[in-house]
Point group: C2
Chain length 190, copies 2
């Protein structure tokens, strides 16, 4: 997995400048992928050198910007990556490690950690559910741009598949919330 | 979050050598945290220099090994970290990105990706469920070592809290499996 495939996927919607891409990633802190600006520009250079994208100098609002488009080899690489099963990365969940040692702190302290986690996951679940609904209604700019160059007969299925990704994120957040609530109950037990 | 807190948590069970720690982390590829050997030794040096652990040269089986124990400041640092709410790291799930673009590949190809993911998550769920049951039964070496220096009145609660962490991992895996199964169904829709 790399930032490159994420960028290829976004550029499949339409050509974008590095600036637009950084705006997109910074605006969506809880999108499927987050990437700092420091990763995006070098990745674009590498991908352009590899022929996966092509840059064009465009004058926009008095400034010259390089706007990148996905190439045929880039689309082929994206499709190849999408169709390959990648093992999930190793587990690195800080809260799981903390919870493993909750017996070392006062119950009230551990409960505060879980309570804050529940609030965080509730916000994440709500955000994911709302985004899923917007995709299902074909009501995001990026999705509309994608649909504009795809046959109308495919639109509903595309929207359902994309909405399903965020419904899944909400479901995972809900599972974590249920787990944390049971943890609050366990911490009260002698 | 850092490997240091994970190591402090493990060393709270009993003093261990760097070798034992690397064995522990490599044996449990699906433990709450995975760490390569290349991270463990430098972390131990840093922690020793910071006074969080203390090393003692011990002769074991004809070899001299440094065995590390957690210090009082180390335990205080561990407790401080356990009791602090840390924001979840940004989302970086490759499958979510892949699934977002499943409309770009043949349904059969996308279904193979989901089917392999389901198998992976089923194995993860089974592993987590089994480990949770072992902890609840106080049937792991590490837990027995921890319990040996804690009052008997606390043992059941400690086992329940630790078992709950892995029950939560199983619940998340089950949520992901349900999501992937719904994905298989959606891919078949026109």
């Amino acid at each position: 997995m790399s930032i490159q495939h994420v960028l290829l996927g976004v550029l499949e919607a339409r050509p974008m400048s590095g600036y637009e891409l950084t705006q997109l990633f910074s605006a969506s802190t809880r999108w499927v992928w987050s990437a700092p600006q420091s990763q995006i520009y070098p990745a674009l250079k590498t991908m352009e050198a590899a022929g996966l994208i092509t840059g064009e100098q465009l004058q926009t609002g008095g400034r010259v910007r390089t706007v990148y488009s996905i190439t045929e080899p880039g689309l082929a690489e994206l499709r190849q990556w999408i169709g390959t099963a990648h093992p999930s990365p190793p587990s690195r969940d800080a809260l799981d490690v903390q919870a493993l040692y909750f017996d070392l702190v006062e119950p009230a302290v551990a409960k505060r950690v879980l309570t804050e986690f529940i609030a965080e996951q509730q916000a994440a679940a709500e955000h994911a559910t709302a985004h899923s609904a917007r995709l299902l209604a074909k009501d995001t700019e990026l999705l509309r741009e994608r649909l504009s160059h795809r046959p109308a007969a495919e639109h509903d299925r595309m929207a359902r598949l994309k909405a399903h990704v965020f419904a899944g994120q909400a479901a995972v957040a809900e599972a974590r919330i249920a787990w944390a609530r049971e943890g609050l109950r366990l911490l009260d037990e002698a």
